[in-house]
Amino acid sequence: MTPIRTDGLTKEFRLGLGRQRVVALDRLNLEVHQGEIFGFLGHNGAGKTTTIKLLLGLLAPTAGQAWILDRPIEDVTIKQQVGFLPEAPYFYEYLTAEEFLTFYGQLFGLGGAPLTKKVEELLEMVALTDARRLQLRKFSKGMLQRIGLAQALINDPALVVLDEPMSGLDPIGRRDVRDIILGLKEEGKTVFFSTHILPDVEMICDRVGILVRGRLRAVGTVQDLVGTSGVASVEMVVAGLTDAGIQEAERQGGKVLRRGAQVLLRLDDPSRVDSLVELVLRSGGRLVSLVPHKRTLEDLFLEQVKAGL
C-alpha cells in the first residue's frame, strides 16, 4: 500500500482584482513509502502547506491527481485512517483537553469505554494528564502543539500528516515532538511532515523532498542527497606560522582568519589538504587541529533554493 502518491498535482490561485495567476504547486509527482518518516522541506511560501491541504481535501487541485492509501483524495472515507496536525493550530479554546480529544474521537464514530481509554492513553503520551480538565485557552504554545498531536492520533491512523510540527517550539518541545514522531514510526505508521528546521530532518527522516517555489527539486534519503563521501571543506588550526607562510597558504587557496597566536585556515578544496599541511610544517608552523566538514542538508537546501529562484 502506498500512503501518499501524487501525479502532476497542481494548484493555481487567482489573486487580487487583476485575477493574476499564481502557481502555488507545479506538477508534483511524489511517492511516500509505507512506514517511513518523510520530511517535506521548503522555504516559506514554497507550497508545502498547499500540498498538504490538497492531500486532505481542504483545497481542490487545479490539475493532477493524488491518492492516499491507494484511494483518490476525493474519497472522504480515507480520512478514517489519516491523522492531521495543521500549521500553528488553533483549537476550540473553550474545551478542556479531555473534551477536545473526545470530540475528535466522536467525529471518527468512536465512543464509550474504548474512546475514554484512548483519550487517557494519548493524554499520557503527550504528558498532559495533569492538564486534562484545563480549558485549551489556558494552554501554552508547546502544550497546544502536543494536544494537537494527540488529536491527530485519536483514530490510530496509518498515515500521519504534520504541517510544521516543530515551528515555534523551544528545544525541549522540539525534542518531545521528535520523540513522538520516532515512536509513531516504531508503531509502523507512516509520517509525512513539512518543516524548515533542518537539523530535525537530518536526525529523524528516512527520506526528504525539497520543494522550491512549488516545484519538487530533489527527493531521496539524506545520505543520497548530501553524498556519503562528501567532505565539503577542511578547517585547520595552526600555531606559530610566519607571515610568509600565511601568505603562501592564502595563495594555495586557503581562507585565513587570525586568532591571536593561532591561525584558522579554511580550505574549500579538500584535495589540497596534503600540500597545505606540508607547507605549514615547512614554514615552521605546528598543526593544532584539522577538521573535515561534511556537506550538510542545509548546504544542499540552500543550493537548491538558490538554483530554484
Binding site: L58, F84, P86, Y94, L95, Q106, L107
Partner: protein, 255 residues
C-alpha cells in the same frame, strides 16, 4: 447523521461557554421584567403592555443572538482555522454545516425557553391569563429565528463575519417589509422594475408572516391553519437556504 449530532452538541457547548450569550439573555430577561414597571405608567391597558413588551423582548433578543452568533458559525471557524482539523476527519462538508446550524438552533431553543419562562413568571405576577395566542406567537418567533440563522449561515459560508452581519441584518429588516415591495411593484408602470420587485418578494424571506404578536396580545384568534402554514413556510425556506449554503460550501477552497 451521528457526525452532525456530534458537531451540533459541540456547537451548543461552545455557545454555552460564551459569556456574550449570558449577557444577552440577562438583558432580555431584564427587559421582560421591566414591563411590569412600564405597565404601571399606563391606565387600563396594563396586561397588553406587559404581553407586548414580553413578546417583543423574546423576539428582539432572539434575533440579535441568531445574527451575531450565526454569522460567526462558519466564518469564525475558517478564520481561526479550526475547520482544518474538522474537515481532515471523515466529515463531509455538509455535515459540518448542518451540525453548526443545528447546534445554534438548539442554543436558540434553550435561550427562548429561558426567556419564555421569565415572561410567564411576569404574567403570573401580573395575574394575566395565558392565552393560546401567546404560545402560537412564541412558536412562530422561534421559526423566524431558524430562518434568520439559515440566512446567517449562508452568508457566513462564503464571506467575512462583518459582511455577513450587514447582509443578514439587511435581510432581516427587508424581510419584515416584503409586502411593501409588492405594493410598490403594483404601483409601477415599468414592467421590468415590477418583475424585479416581484422576484425579490418571492426570493426574500417574508418574516412578517411569522409575526402574530399583535393579534396574540389583543386576544384575536389565530387560525391553527395559519400557524401550520407559517411553520411549513419557515422550515421549507430554511431548508432551501441551507441547501444553497451546502452547495457553496462544498466548492470552497480553504486557503
Amino acid at each position: 447523521m451521528s457526525r452532525i449530532i456530534v458537531i451540533a452538541l459541540n456547537t451548543f457547548k461552545e455557545n454555552l461557554r460564551d459569556k456574550i450569550l449570558y449577557n444577552l439573555v440577562f438583558f432580555g430577561l431584564l427587559l421582560i421584567g421591566s414591563s411590569i414597571l412600564l405597565s404601571t405608567l399606563t391606565m387600563g391597558e396594563q396586561a397588553k403592555i406587559i404581553q407586548d413588551i414580553g413578546l417583543a423582548s423574546i423576539n428582539l433578543f432572539g434575533v440579535i443572538i441568531a445574527i451575531f452568533v450565526g454569522i460567526g458559525l462558519v466564518s469564525k471557524e475558517i478564520e481561526k482555522r479550526t475547520i482544518y482539523t474538522i474537515l481532515a476527519k471523515p466529515v463531509q462538508r455538509y455535515q459540518f454545516l448542518l451540525g453548526r446550524y443545528c447546534g445554534l438552533a438548539l442554543t436558540l431553543l434553550v435561550n427562548t425557553a429561558i426567556m419564555v419562562v421569565g415572561f410567564f413568571f411576569i404574567l403570573l405576577v401580573g395575574k394575566i391569563s395565558l392565552g393560546s395566542g401567546l404560545i402560537k406567537a412564541i412558536s412562530l418567533i422561534y421559526i423566524e429565528l431558524l430562518v434568520i440563522v439559515a440566512v446567517a449561515v449562508m452568508f457566513s459560508s462564503f464571506t467575512t463575519p462583518t459582511l455577513s452581519a450587514s447582509f443578514t441584518l439587511a435581510i432581516c429588516v427587508i424581510g419584515h417589509l416584503t409586502a411593501d415591495l409588492r405594493v410598490l411593484g403594483a404601483k409601477l408602470q415599468n414592467e421590468l422594475t415590477k418583475g424585479i420587485l416581484d422576484g425579490l418578494y418571492y426570493m426574500l424571506p417574508n418574516l412578517e408572516y411569522f409575526n402574530v404578536k399583535g393579534p396574540a396580545v389583543h386576544g384575536i384568534v389565530i387560525a391553527p391553519l395559519y400557524v401550520v402554514s407559517a411553520i411549513a413556510y419557515g422550515v421549507l425556506y430554511s431548508a432551501v437556504i441551507l441547501l444553497i449554503s451546502c452547495v457553496i460550501f462544498q466548492r470552497r477552497d480553504f486557503k
